[in-house]
């Protein structure tokens, strides 16, 4: 077991997401050194205007992606619970994407390797900027390691289309069906 008593998890409230995409900017600056929305580990989907879905790894308890990888390029960070990608080993086959219930991993537009949220080593930059703006779409919650599995994180690994449908109906009402 790692150093922490708690693992961090980024709770998401799609209804509150403003679509500012500053999480993408913060993420890509942290991981890529520069603004690169399509390389951000958190990507905001706006399949319907006004319905913004920040889409990123939910850290499923059973990590289907990790188990799917034929070359064992994926592993779980003992400390944070994040999925780590060994970019040397990854062949860009896309097996992890296919196995993820939300099709959340993606192949990096630069090196073509699987790209997944690593929780910034325990201090998620996306949640920071979202909180700083008081948008509260992203919110770091601490999960007691001894109660690991206490709630079903995997339920948050959903397809952007499905999330969009739910949020659109919530915001726009029955008419929302026309939009998707």
């Amino acid at each position: 077991m790692g150093k922490r008593e708690f693992i961090v998890w980024v709770a998401r409230d799609y209804l509150k997401c403003t679509g500012c995409r500053r999480c993408e900017i913060a993420c890509s600056i942290f991981h890529e050194g520069w603004i690169w929305p399509e390389a951000s580990r958190i990507r905001v989907f706006m399949l319907v205007p006004g319905v913004e879905i920040p889409h990123f790894c939910a850290q499923c308890h059973d990590y289907p992606c990790v188990n799917a990888c034929p070359v064992r390029a994926l592993s779980v960070d003992d400390d944070t619970g994040a999925v780590l990608v060994d970019r040397e080993k990854c062949t860009g086959c896309g097996a992890c994407i296919r196995e993820c219930p939300g099709k959340i991993p993606f192949l990096h537009p630069g090196d073509g390797k699987a790209t997944i949220c690593d929780l910034c080593g325990g201090d998620p930059q996306c949640a920071r900027v979202c909180q700083e703006a008081r948008f509260n779409a992203l919110w770091v919650v601490r999960e007691d390691k001894s109660r690991w599995g206490g709630f079903s994180r995997k339920l948050f690994a959903q397809m952007p289309e499905d999330l969009t449908r739910d949020v659109a109906v919530n915001l726009y009402g029955e008419k929302a069906e026309e939009w998707i």
Binding site: R22, G33, G50, F106, P109, G173, E174
Partner: protein, 615 residues
């Protein structure tokens, strides 16, 4: 290569279907930056010699969608739409928020230049280096929600086949015109998302004239690299921090204006500007806020302010209408100015105008103008086909749809308030231009000058953007800041004093506000002024007549705490004189030869010779 720029532009000739990459050298980029500035340069270089002969709705006009070096990097991503304006016959830089600008830069392009005219409806599809002209026959005639839905689906399918296995494909950014634009209605906007509009200028009609329904773009690359990345990152944090302090704008946007501007400032249009005061609490900020806003913070790429709000009507006959805010301008123009004080009706009509692809300000102004003519008995039930009483949302919807389709009287009103006024005056034998609240063909923003508490007397009258409330003039030096924001192409609500340093760190080129205000920005304004005064081909402006407020702005306010007040002619004339002088324009308002030559604008000077002798 210039830093902060993607490094190339796409030029699409819709007549020959020829697509090519073009570049501008560093000298041009340094001087004209991007957006409004570069648009002015491109338009003037290509059309300046025969400006008066160019029909803005003909194939020889050029449609521009340009970013700037700060787009996507500095907070508040926008794109600047331009061309020869079918409203003013000059050049207007019309910016709109959204992801189009940053997507375009990530696709490797700084802008799009569209010439010619397609034979059949088309849209332009861009994905990284790939540019394609595609049929738009299946979206032609469609309103905003349908258009977005169809094009988003289609684009995601194409992208999915291009980027196989890469993971879930996001939506592209889309700019498009609605039915109003397709039918070349001069008050048509270039739209983005559901309700974001590049409203001023009438560029939706220019898209329509080219049979261009939309431009769809997705970029997977990084933002272009910058000269001093570490400094840019620090400045970005600093600017964001200051923007996060704009509490009121963040919490309410401008969506509390519908009551406040009328009740407190007496400068809100009411019943075609017959009044500028109201105290209708039914139309108050909290009403909109708590009954309709389902999202209190709605942003576009890289914006920490989120001044937009999303309104949805959840009950009653207008159930299901969705629009942003409505922001103050929409509240005013689709509310009190139509005699409407019921937020349900205002939201419903705002959404309608968006879906039909109107500029809510410009098109809303025409609706009110028509209603006043009906009130005065100049236009009758026979002319319209129905009654058009103040407050009657159904009648206004009918009228808006007729204008969008150019049906019946709609065909005349589709020419915009002023041109319609000229035609109706002729038709009816009475001068109705005094009821047309516009400046040089551009219907004015929802801020009056009469109470003296809001817009200054020369704000619209002397602006090269005419009725555009976002670019009013006052002081020849500081006014250039907005020209910079429109040229660097960022949102004007995200302005900060740090922007000059920001620009330096992004491009590696030094620029001070002083240099911009005295030289670079001034050049852009002179060219805009020249194009406006050359005008044509259908209407020519004479500064001694048309550098003025709408006639209504000189009538005394009939109601409210500022009853009796009006715009003071003398003050106006004196301010105008001072402004001309500060700009280096002669007593008729024409840029002086010596001033133009000092700035290296000989060709502008030569072109203006044509109108110098006129009186």
């Amino acid at each position: 290569m210039a830093r902060g720029y993607a490094g190339k532009f796409i030029e699409v000739d819709l007549s020959s279907e020829n697509v090519k990459d073009i570049t501008f050298n560093d000298e041009i980029l340094k001087n004209y930056v991007g957006g409004r500035g570069l648009a002015v340069k491109i338009l003037w270089d290509r059309l300046g010699g025969r400006w008066e002969t160019i029909d803005p709705l003909g194939p020889e006009n050029i449609f521009l969608a340009l970013t700037g070096p700060l787009t996507g990097i500095y907070p508040g991503s926008r794109v600047c739409i331009s061309g020869k304006s079918p409203q003013s016959n000059g050049i207007i830089g019309s910016t709109v928020s959204g992801e189009f600008g940053n997507e375009l830069k990530c696709a490797g392009y700084d802008g799009i230049i569209v010439t010619g005219r397609a034979e059949k409806p088309v849209y332009i599809f861009i994905a990284d280096g790939h540019v394609e002209i595609r049929s738009a026959e299946h979206v032609w005639g469609k309103e905003a929600p349908e258009t977005i839905r169809i094009l988003t689906r289609e684009a995601r399918e194409i992208l999915g086949s291009m980027w196989r296995n890469a993971g879930a494909i996001r939506e592209p950014a889309i700019i498009y015109c609605g039915p109003a634009g397709e039918n070349m209605v001069r008050t048509a906007a270039v739209m983005q998302k559901i309700s974001h509009a590049a409203g001023y200028g009438g560029y939706g009609a220019v898209m329509g004239s080219k049979n261009l329904k939309a431009i769809v773009v997705k970029g997977r690359g990084p933002m272009p690299s910058v000269a001093s990345p570490e400094i840019v990152k620090i400045l970005l944090r600093e600017v964001e921090r200051s923007l996060l302090e704009r509490d009121r704008l963040r919490r309410w946007g401008t969506g509390y204006g519908g009551y406040e501007v009328g009740a407190r400032l007496s400068s809100e249009p009411v019943r075609n500007w017959q009044e500028e005061w109201h105290d209708e609490k039914s139309f108050s900020g909290p009403k909109f806020d708590f009954r309709y806003w389902v999202k209190r913070y709605w942003s576009d790429f890289n914006c920490p302010i989120a001044c937009m709000k999303i309104s949805v009507i959840k009950a009653g006959p207008y159930k299901g209408a969705i629009t942003d805010d409505p922001d103050y301008e929409m509240q005013a123009y689709l509310g009190p100015n139509l005699g409407i004080f019921d937020p349900d009706k205002c939201i419903y009509l705002s959404a309608l105008m968006d879906y039909l692809g109107f500029s809510g300000i410009n098109g809303g102004n025409t609706l009110a103008f028509t209603a006043e003519l009906y009130e005065k008995g100049i236009l009758t039930r026979e002319d319209l086909g129905f009654d058009l009483n103040w407050g009657d949302a159904e009648a206004f919807e009918r009228l808006a749809r007729m204008i969008a389709k150019r049906e019946g009287i709609g065909n005349i009103l589709a020419e915009g308030t002023y041109r319609a006024a000229l035609k109706i005056s002729e038709m009816k034998g009475v001068d109705v231009t005094r009821y047309a609240v516009h400046v040089k063909g551009v219907e004015v923003g929802a801020h009056g000058t009469r109470s003296g508490l809001d817009f200054n007397p020369i704000g619209y009258a002397c602006s090269p953007q005419c009725g555009d409330h976002t670019s009013g003039v006052y002081d020849a030096y500081n006014d250039t800041v907005i020209v910079f924001l429109d040229s660097a192409v960022v949102c004007s609500m995200c302005s900060s004093n740090l922007i000059w340093d920001f620009y330096g760190a992004v491009t590696g080129w030094n620029l001070t506000k002083d240099e911009w205000a005295k030289t670079l920005g001034r050049r852009i304004l002179h060219i805009q002024r020249a194009a406006l005064l050359l005008g044509g081909p259908d209407i020519f402006w004479r500064p001694e007549v048309h550098d003025d407020n709408p006639p209504r702005f000189y009538e005394p306010l009939p109601s409210g705490p500022y009853k009796g007040k009006t715009t003071d002619r003398k003050v106006f004339e004196e301010m105008k004189r001072q402004y001309y002088e500060a700009m280096g324009w002669d007593e008729r308002g024409i840029p002086k030869s010596s001033v133009l030559r000092d700035l290296g604008l000989e060709d502008v000077d030569i072109a203006l010779e044509k109108i110098r002798g006129q009186t």
